[in-house]
Symmetry: C2
Subunit: 642 residues, 2 copies
C-alpha cells in the first residue's frame, strides 16, 4: 500500500491509501478530491493537471505538458499511476471553470432586462404571472382554562378566518414546531403556504416579521449551473448565482456521467455532486445575499436536459443512452424539495420543465417558452448553445426540435485555455490584420488580468484569425509572427497573453487542436440547423428571427459567429441573444402557474427529430467542419481578407 497526500490549493489536504498502479485521477475521485476532467480521463483535454511535490509517479508523456513543466513536476493526473508514497498538489486553477461560484452578479442591468423582457413578452402572450403562494400574519387568542382548544385547531381556525378557506392542512414539519412557535411568538405568527381550491397547505410558521415568499429557478447545465431567487409576489429578482456543475469530475458529457451513475453507488455519487456539492452551497449563499431563510423558498423550478434531470433526482439514467433510449420520465408531478433534501421548505414543489426526448430536455422546453416562438406567426429559429446544442424551429402552428453533441467548447471546455464567462475570461477579441496584435476585452474589474478565454472570445478570436488570413479554412496557422508559436511537433498556437501578463503565470493561447475542437462544435450546430430546416422543406431565407440562448454570454458577436459558419448567414438584425433561456423559462415557471401549464403544452406539441439516425446529418456535419463551410455560397457575408 502506498500513501498519497492530495494538497488541495485553498483547501485541506486529503490522504488516501492505495495499491501501486492505481490511476491517480481515479484515486482522487474516490477521495472526493475535485479535479477537472472534461474528457473523462482519456488524456485529450489536458485539464486534470496536478504537480507532484514529493515522491514520484509513473506517467505517460502528454502534449499538454511542456518539457519545462514536466521538470517542475506537472502531470496529467489521468495519465499517472501511483508508484510509492507521494504528495500531489491539486491547483485551484485546475478547477477554475468548475468552481468560482458567483452570487453577486445581479449588478448587470442587461441581465435583469432579460428577465423583465421575458416576463413582458409572456404577459403579452396572455400568460398571467400569478401563483398560489400566500403569507398571512395571524393573531390568536391565548388559551385559558375556559378556552382549551389544542394548538392545531386554534391555528386552523385562525387560517380559516383569515383566508376564507374550508380546509387547512398542517403537515408534519409545521406540527413539529407548532407548540413552541406559537408560544415563543406570543400567539402572533406569520404563516406561509399554498392556497388551493378551498384549502390551504400551511408550509411554514414563524415570526410575524418574516413574510418572504421566495421562488428558486435553476438551470442545471451539463457544465454550468445558474440560479435566481425571486420574490413570488412581486417577481423581483433577489439574488443570482452560478457555478460549475460538480459532476464535471465524472466526465464532461452526459454519456460519461450515465456510465458513472451505473457503477455501484453511482446514483448517490452523481446526485450528491449536483445537489450537495453544487446546488446546496449556491442556494445557501443566495439566501444569505437576499437575507432570507432557506425555508422561505416555497417553490423551485428546474430547467435541465433529460440526463441532468435523471441524475439530479437520483433516478437511473442508463436506459437514456441505450437502445431503445427510454427515459424514466418526461414529466414528473409531485416532486418535493424534501425528497431531495434541498435546502428549501421541505414541502416546496420542485417543478421540472418537461423533457420531450432522450436528448431534448426541460432546458429546451423552458427555453422555448421563454423565447415566445410558440405564440408567433413568423418563422423562428431557437438555438441553445450548451454542451449539447439544441435547435427548435417553427411558429405557433408547429415546432420541430433536434439535438446535437457540440461538446463543452462553448463554455470553454475541451479548449486548453478555455473557461466559463466569469472574471478573467477574454470575452471579445479583435486583431489588427497588419501587426497581428490582439485587443482583448476581459470580464472583471479594471485591471483584471487574463485567466483564459470563454465561448464568445473564442468565436471572436477564430473569426479574426480567419479574417486576417492567419488561419486557413481548416483552422491551421498559415502566417508566422511574434504571436504565433509552434511546439516541437509543429503545432501552431496564437498567444493572447504571455505568462507574465496572465493572472495565473501561464500563457493564455489558442492552439490548432483547440480550433479544431471548436470547428467541430460549430459544425455540429450549423449542420443540425441545416438538417432540421431541410426536414421541413425550408431554407435559410425563410427564417424571420434567430434567438440565440446559452451561457456563452451576452458578448457574443453574431457577425463573427456567421463569419465562421456557426449560424446561418441571415441579416444580423434578425439575431437576438436571449441569454440563458432555460433559466428564464424556469423563472417564468416558478412565478406563474399558467407558465407551467404552457410549458407542458409546448412540450406536448413539439416534434422531435432524431439526428443520429437521420440520413444526411453526418454528411452535413462533415461539410460544416470548415471555415465557414465547404460550400462557401451558404455564407456570402463571410470575409477572409486576403
Amino acid at each position: 500500500m502506498s500513501k498519497v497526500i492530495f494538497q488541495i490549493e485553498g483547501g485541506s489536504p486529503v490522504t488516501m491509501e492505495c495499491n501501486d498502479g492505481e490511476n491517480l485521477l481515479e484515486l482522487a475521485r474516490r477521495a472526493n478530491v475535485a479535479i477537472d476532467a472534461p474528457c473523462s480521463g482519456n488524456g485529450s483535454c489536458g485539464k486534470c493537471r496536478v504537480k507532484i511535490l514529493e515522491g514520484e509517479v509513473e506517467s505517460l508523456p502528454s502534449r499538454h505538458i511542456s518539457e519545462e513543466e514536466y521538470q517542475e513536476g506537472w502531470r496529467l493526473s489521468c495519465s499517472c499511476k501511483v508508484k510509492g508514497d507521494c504528495t500531489v498538489l491539486v491547483p485551484d486553477i485546475a478547477s477554475a471553470y468548475q468552481s468560482r461560484m458567483k452570487t453577486a452578479d445581479l449588478s448587470s442591468p442587461k441581465e435583469i432586462a432579460i428577465f423583465e423582457e421575458c416576463e413582458e413578452n409572456l404577459k403579452n402572450s396572455g400568460i398571467h404571472f400569478v401563483n398560489r403562494y400566500r403569507s398571512v400574519v395571524l393573531t390568536m387568542a391565548e388559551p385559558t382554562l375556559d378556552d382549551t382548544m389544542p394548538d392545531n385547531e386554534r391555528l386552523t381556525w385562525a387560517i380559516q378566518e383569515a383566508l376564507g378557506v374550508e380546509k387547512v392542512e398542517i403537515p408534519f414539519c409545521v406540527m413539529e414546531k407548532l407548540a413552541h412557535t406559537l408560544r415563543e411568538n406570543a400567539w402572533t405568527v406569520c404563516v406561509k403556504g399554498e392556497l388551493r381550491e378551498d384549502a390551504f397547505l400551511c408550509m411554514e410558521i414563524g415570526k410575524r416579521s418574516d413574510t418572504a415568499l421566495v421562488g428558486c429557478a435553476i438551470d442545471i447545465g451539463t457544465t454550468t449551473v445558474t440560479m435566481v431567487l425571486t420574490d413570488l409576489t412581486t417577481g423581483k429578482l433577489l439574488a443570482k448565482g452560478s457555478s460549475g456543475n460538480g459532476q464535471i469530475r465524472y466526465g464532461a458529457d452526459v454519456i460519461n456521467r450515465i456510465i458513472e451513475q451505473g457503477r455501484p453507488g453511482g446514483k448517490r455519487k452523481l446526485q450528491d455532486a449536483i445537489v450537495k456539492e453544487t446546488l446546496n452551497p449556491i442556494i445557501a449563499s443566495l439566501c444569505k445575499t437576499a437575507g432570507i431563510s432557506c425555508r422561505s423558498i416555497l417553490r423551485l423550478s428546474i430547467g435541465a436536459n433529460t440526463t441532468m434531470n435523471h441524475l439530479f433526482v437520483g433516478v437511473d439514467a442508463s436506459s437514456v443512452r441505450m437502445e431503445p433510449y427510454i427515459p424514466s420520465f418526461f414529466s414528473w408531478e409531485g416532486l418535493l424539495a424534501g425528497d431531495l433534501k434541498l435546502p428549501a421548505n421541505p414541502l416546496a414543489p420542485v417543478l421540472i420543465a418537461p423533457n420531450i426526448g432522450s436528448y431534448v430536455g426541460g432546458d429546451i422546453t423552458a427555453g422555448t417558452l421563454a423565447s415566445g416562438i410558440w405564440d408567433k406567426d413568423e418563422m423562428s429559429l431557437f438555438i441553445d448553445l450548451g454542451t449539447n446544442g439544441e435547435i427548435v424551429f417553427g411558429n405557433r402552428d408547429f415546432l420541430m426540435s433536434c439535438a446535437c453533441s457540440a461538446g463543452p467548447a462553448f463554455e470553454g471546455g475541451d479548449i486548453s485555455c478555455g473557461m466559463r464567462a466569469t472574471d478573467g475570461a477574454v470575452e471579445a477579441v479583435t486583431i489588427d490584420k497588419a501587426t497581428m496584435e490582439p485587443a482583448l476585452s476581459i470580464i472583471g474589474d479594471e485591471g483584471q488580468k487574463c485567466v483564459g478565454i470563454c465561448g464568445s472570445g473564442i468565436i471572436d478570436l477564430i473569426s479574426e484569425l480567419f479574417r486576417c488570413g492567419i488561419i486557413n479554412a481548416k483552422g491551421l496557422f498559415v502566417r508566422e509572427g511574434s504571436r504565433i508559436r509552434r511546439d516541437a511537433h509543429g503545432m501552431g498556437r496564437f498567444v493572447l497573453a504571455e505568462p507574465e501578463e496572465s493572472e495565473t503565470g501561464r500563457e493564455v493561447s489558442l492552439n490548432e487542436v483547440d480550433i479544431d475542437n471548436f470547428i467541430r462544435a460549430k459544425g455540429a450546430i450549423f449542420s443540425a440547423i441545416d438538417t432540421l430546416l431541410k426536414s421541413v422543406d425550408m431554407t435559410v431565407d425563410m427564417i424571420d428571427k434567430v434567438y440565440v440562448a446559452g451561457g456563452i454570454g451576452s458578448g457574443i458577436n453574431m457577425k463573427n459567429a456567421v463569419n465562421i459558419g456557426m449560424f446561418p448567414d441571415v441579416e444580423l438584425e434578425k439575431f437576438h441573444y436571449i441569454g440563458n433561456s432555460s433559466l428564464t423559462g424556469a423563472y417564468a415557471m416558478v412565478m406563474s402557474d399558467e407558465a407551467c401549464t404552457k410549458t407542458h403544452e409546448v412540450a406536448a406539441n413539439m416534434t422531435y427529430l432524431e439526428l443520429s439516425t437521420h440520413p444526411g446529418y453526418m454528411d452535413a456535419f462533415v461539410a460544416a467542419c470548415f471555415l465557414p463551410h465547404t460550400d462557401a455560397r451558404l455564407f456570402p457575408h463571410s470575409v477572409q481578407e486576403v
Copy 2:
C-alpha cells in the same frame, strides 16, 4: 475526570468519562445505557440496581438493598455518585420488565378470539371492515424504438387500464427505483397502493410474487408497547408482539417524561426511545415472523394517551402538563410513516386515534370504539387499567370519561418484585388459609420458575392475604408464619418464592410498601368510577355491563378485584375482560375506514370530566384506600374470613 465502564449483561460494554460527583443513573442515561427507573431516580422504586465490580462509588443506604447485597456490591444507581474510575455491572434483570420483547404470542386462541370478537361486534354495529389498499400485478409491453413511452407513463397507463382510474400518482420513493424494477422484473411487477376517488397512489412497486398488503396496529402504553400486523385484505393477524416502552428510563409516568422532553435535545431523545429503540425493533421482528417486507406495511394506527402521542411524534408536550393544559393536537390528519422514519412504507398513513383531553387520549377513544358501548342501550362502564386509569361510562346516548393516575402498579411497576405479564410472572395465586402456603400459577412453559409477579397476580395475592386475615384493611401484616418475614424496621413481606426457588436467585415477595402502592392504585380506580357515576347521578346498581381492558392479562380474577374494592361490587357475570382494547381499537382503525370515522365521532361525542379539580374526588380517593373501602357497605360481597 473519572472513567466509568458499564458492563451490560448480554450487551457490549460502554465507557464514559465524567466528573466525580456525577449521578450514576444520569451518567447511564447520557451513555444511552438502559437502566429501569420507574420512579425517575428518587430512590423509591428500587429498580435501578447495579453491581459495582471494580472501584467504588459514593452511595446512600436504601431499604431495597440488603446488607448482604450491599457487601456484594449492589447499589441503586440513582443513589450513587461517581468517585474515581469504576466498572459497573448493569444486570439484564434490572430491565426485566422493560426488555424481553415477545413476538410469538399469537399461539393463544384467547388472544385471537378477542380480535375476532371485536371485529364481529363492530360489524354488527354496521361498521364495514373495508379499506382502500390494493395490490395488482401488471404486465407491460417492453419498449422498442417504435414504442418509446417513458417508464412512468408506461406504468401509469397500465394502472389506469387495470384499475379503471383516471389519475395515477407515482411518488418519489417509487420513481427512484422505477427504471431498475421494471427491467429487473422483465416488465411484470406488482404495484401496491391506495385507491382514492378516481385516483391511485402508487406506494410500492416490486416483484410479482410480493402482493402482501399489511397494516400495523400499535398500542403505545406508558409502560408497555404492543402491536399486531394484520393482512389488510382478510384481516388475518400475521404477528403480534410486545415490549416495554423504552422511555421508561426517563421516568415511569407521563409527567417525568414531559419534563425530560423539555430539556435540551429532549424531544429527539424521548422520540428515539419510543420509535428507534422500542417500535422499530418490534416491527422488524414481526415482519420477519410474518415473512413480509417492512415496505408492505401500508397503513399504521396508534392507540396511545395524549402524552405518548406527543412524545411519539416529537411534538413539544410541555403545555400538556402546565395550566391551561393545552395539547398541541387532539387529532392529526396527514401524518406519514416517513415523517417518523418508521420501518414501513414511507407513504403509509399513521392514523392516530384522537385524544379528547390532556389525560384522556387515543388509547381510550380506540378502546371505547372496540368495547362497542357507543352502540348499546344498556349502561356500560369501561375501565382501562394502565399507568393511568381511565373510565368511560354511558351508552349510545351519552359518554362520560375521566382519568386518574394509578401509577404503573397494574403492570408490575412500583412493586419490588413486579413485572409485566410475560414468562416467569406469577399471574394467579391462592392461599391455604390454615397453612398460609401459596399456590402459584406462573406464565410460561412447564417447569418455568418464578421471576416476579404481574398485575393479576398481585390482585389475587392481596385479595387472598386479606381473605385469610393475613393482612388487615390497611394492608399491614397481622399474622405471623414461615412465609411472613420482617426486615430490621419491622416491615412485613410475604414470600412467594425463596431465592433458590426463583429463576433469578432472588426472593420473590410482596411487602407492605408494595401493598400500599397497590392499594393507592386500586383506590384511584374505584374513586374515579365512584366520582364519575355521581357526576351523572347514577349508582352502582344501574351498571349493566363492566368492560375491563388493559395489559393486566386475561387472568384477572374479577371476584378478587371486587374483594379488594378495586371494581364496584356488581354481579360477576356483568364483568367482561376485553384485553388490550386500545390495541383492538387500533386494529379496527387500521382495517376499516369506517372504524376510523366512527372513532373520531365517538371522540367528538365524549364528555371529559377533569377529576383533579372535581370537588369530592380527593375525599373519595382517601376513602377508597382501604381493603375493600372505609364504607364496607359498598362491598357486600367482599370477604374476610376471620
